[in-house]
Amino acid sequence: MVNAVTAAEPALAAIRDFTIADNPSSFLAVSEGNSYFTLPGRPGVIVYRPTGRFLVQFGGPFAPPDSYRELLRAFLEFAEERGVTVVGVQLQRADAEIYAEFGFTVNQIGASWARSLGDFSLHGTRFMQLRNKVSRSFRAGLTVVETADESWFPKLREIDEVWLRGKGEHAKPLEYLVGQYGDHMQPHRRMFIGMIDGAPVGYISYSPVFGSRAGWMHDLSRRQPSRVPGIMEAINVTAIERFRSEGVAWLHFGFTPFSGLHAEYELPCHDPGFRLLMGLLWEHGEAVYPAQTQLAYKDKWAPDLTIPEYVGFQRAASVAGFTHIFRAAGAL
């Protein structure tokens, strides 16, 4: 029986080595709870979670060009043998075009956002509010540390619990499409913690991003409810300064569903009705996912790269398939 650590190691190697799709969220592939599909003797891995009648795949195959289609074809056969349907989420453009070749209906489902760090600074009126918030938090006694000391993590879990309780009685923590910390992959991440009077008040976990826009992704982040503004912003400013000093080229902010939708990003095989649904969920879908609120935080940092991401339905676009993405993410 393969345990989680053993199963995830080939996935880690795959996301590091096979980066043609440049999926900025690829580190989610190694999260606990994922299932993996591979072909004996062939490079690459497919990441998925079974939910009901679906296999919800994260990204496209993390594979080199000479095994990508073979792996996908075998995965579709695997699904057919089990009488289930594949739905892919957070496909990158390169993935989306191949999935269209395979007869998938592919629609833009949102975008990932990123900021180049080479010439990034907080100078100017664009960042005045941000600078003020950060200053206020430091004046209130906030300090920010980067730490690999996991003895802090129980305190961070307390922050998580308070945050989750604030979301409502029936709120559940999301998974699969959100980051983790404190697992066997922790050595590959970076944790920045904001402290006041020696106690954690917030944190941001950064996950590695591989490929042509390598860098770090602003991943899981939480803070205590506080009268002190700017805690998250101050943590991120500290991290940015550290990254820039190391010559890191990109800070990624990850995927926001229903954001960055543009007609020119759609493939010819897209479903027009599903496209309307995505637009509606951007405008009015805060109960489904608070996309505008989430993007507003990312927009504070003036992201200069929008990366459209796609959902792939094995045949026609499917409300059921879309629903099972939420189910796989623990939202139902």
Binding site: L276, A316, S318, V319, A320, T323, H324
Partner: protein, 54 residues
């Protein structure tokens, strides 16, 4: 939920959202899933019937 045929895109889109919500509460309900996907197909038929802008 209404079963009357819809003739405008807004109502059809609303039906899709309605079915998405119902399916979220009962994701393994095969009949509901088929109904949900049918509402999306209805929406697409209406969109296909829309006159193309000049």
């Amino acid at each position: 939920m209404s079963t009357e045929p819809v003739t405008d895109v807004g109502t059809a889109l609303g039906r899709v959202v309605e079915m998405f919500g119902a399916l979220c509460a009962d994701p393994d309900n095969l009949d509901l899933a088929q109904d949900a996907d049918r509402t999306l197909a209805d929406l697409n038929r209406l969109l296909a019937d829309q006159p193309t802008p000049a």
